[in-house]
Amino acid sequence: MKKIKKIKIKINGKIKSINQDSNLSLALKNLKIPLNKVAIELNEEIIDKKKINKIKLNKNDKIEIVHFIGGG
């Protein structure tokens, strides 16, 4: 069996190891993120949620996933 290469990315400040051929959609699916309740940034650029399955991830990518919480 061919070994799948892993790459390291950062999601919300935490280092995660994902498959090299993975895309943003798969990475989010694994985290069970409810897409309709969040916004996503890739390397400080806002991502259109409709296009996430077309976005390839690269080594050292920084993803931020935010949502609304209680605040004043």
Partner: protein
């Protein structure tokens, strides 16, 4: 009686009380207090999703954004760049355009950095946001915000979370006189009567968080603020009597035995 709605960026609201969703013991306490307050707009913060605890309750599960207007806020931002990033993300979550801009300048007193606030207001208005702006109680700055495209002026009563009540009534009245934009007192209220005073000064609404969330009985305080805002508004609309320095008897002086 004619309906007296609060209109912000062409949207009508029946309640003139806006409440924050922070500092509550838990989400259900927050949701219940909001319901009792009658508020139709709540401020919310934009923060990272907790990716290690997926079962953490979500605000949207407790407060339905279809029924209550979420007002994303930039609390915790100390410059224009952070504030713009936060609100652009907030818009992306689900199309929110009505936002509250709050750019702080000092970690201790939490006063707004008005230069960064002004810069951010201009950019946001150009990007199509409807911006409600937290600001100092400075009439000149309020005017500049208005000219920069703000949709509501939100001067502080006193430092955020201080509970001191309105410190500068004169400035609030001057701002009221000079602007037709919604004027909403934001921050620093401590008790229900502070909200009444704000409304009697002619403000269009008040925003309260700590005074309700940290009261010994938040549910009762939520109700008290609801009633206080209604009372203050009615009082303002009723046209108060002139102040005089002498006594003026309430009973006729004729026919005294």
């Amino acid at each position: 009686m004619k309906k007296d709605s609060l209109i912000i960026a062409n949207k009508k609201f029946n309640s003139r009380l806006i409440v924050g969703t922070g500092k509550y013991k838990n989400m259900s306490e927050c949701a219940k207090a909001i319901k009792l307050s009658g508020a139709e707009i709540v401020t919310v913060a934009v923060r990272r999703v907790n990716i290690s605890d997926k079962n953490k309750p979500l605000l949207m599960d407790y407060i339905d954004p279809k029924k209550i207007t979420y007002l994303p806020n930039t609390a915790g931002c100390f410059n224009s760049k952070e504030a713009l990033r936060t609100l652009r993300l907030a818009r992306e979550i689900g199309g929110w355009k009505l936002v509250k801009l709050e750019v702080l300048g000092d970690k201790k007193n939490l006063f707004p950095d008005m230069i960064e606030t002004l810069k951010s207001t201009e950019v946001l208005a150009k990007e199509g946001f409807k911006v409600m702006v937290y600001c100092n109680d400075d009439p000149l700055m309020a005017k500049r915000l208005e000219n920069s495209g703000a949709d509501a002026i939100m001067p502080l009563a006193a430092p955020i979370g201080s509970g001191l009540g309105i410190q500068n009534k004169i400035n609030i009245q001057i701002i009221r006189k000079q602007t037709k934009l919604p004027l909403i007192i934001d921050a620093g209220l401590g008790q229900a009567s502070d909200a009444t005073i704000a409304m009697e000064l002619g403000c269009d609404g008040v925003l309260v968080n700590t005074a309700i969330a940290k009261a010994k009985k938040p549910f009762e305080m939520a109700l008290a603020f609801k009633n206080a805002v209604i009372a203050g508004r009615q009082s303002f609309k009723s046209g108060r009597i002139d102040k005089i320095l002498m006594g003026n008897p309430s009973s006729p002086s004729k026919g005294i035995i």
